[in-house]
Subunit: 83 residues, 2 copies
């Protein structure tokens, strides 16, 4: 079976996000001062071939931990869909 | 009312994603050759203050079009939640 994983990798809440802070400031200049607390992370989509959803989840977790997310500074979550 | 927007900005399908290609290659080296077609974009979370959901959506669309996404090379989608 083939699964599509949609992964979000975000900086931890405790960690300053300078890119997000800069964007929050720019919103004001665009006349969008209603927008606050911008935080920027990565969105990763990938396809994984696996026998079932449990194995697919395990593979995605492994990919996140070993390559896609730096768990010292980032957290991740993902959703799996059958394709 | 306050809304939380979760925005995904992804490179268009027609456009080569070199970062995604590199990650796809690295997956093989990690023993995760089941993982294919990696594409990398941005995930942005932000808070928006608005009278109702329609106005909030409009604000987020404006922010995406003017600042967060480059519509020549990227597409975006988002979800709004009340907080």
């Amino acid at each position: 079976m083939k699964f599509l994983a949609e992964i979000n990798v975000m900086p931890l809440k405790e960690i300053l996000d300078p890119q997000g802070k800069a964007i929050t400031g720019s919103m004001k200049n665009l006349g969008l001062s209603e927008i606050q607390n911008v935080r920027i992370g990565k969105h990763i989509s990938l396809e994984v071939e696996a026998q079932n959803e449990i194995i697919a989840k395990e593979k995605v977790n492994q990919a996140c931990k070993q390559l896609l997310a730096n768990l010292i500074m980032e957290s991740y979550n993902f959703e799996l869909k059958t394709i």
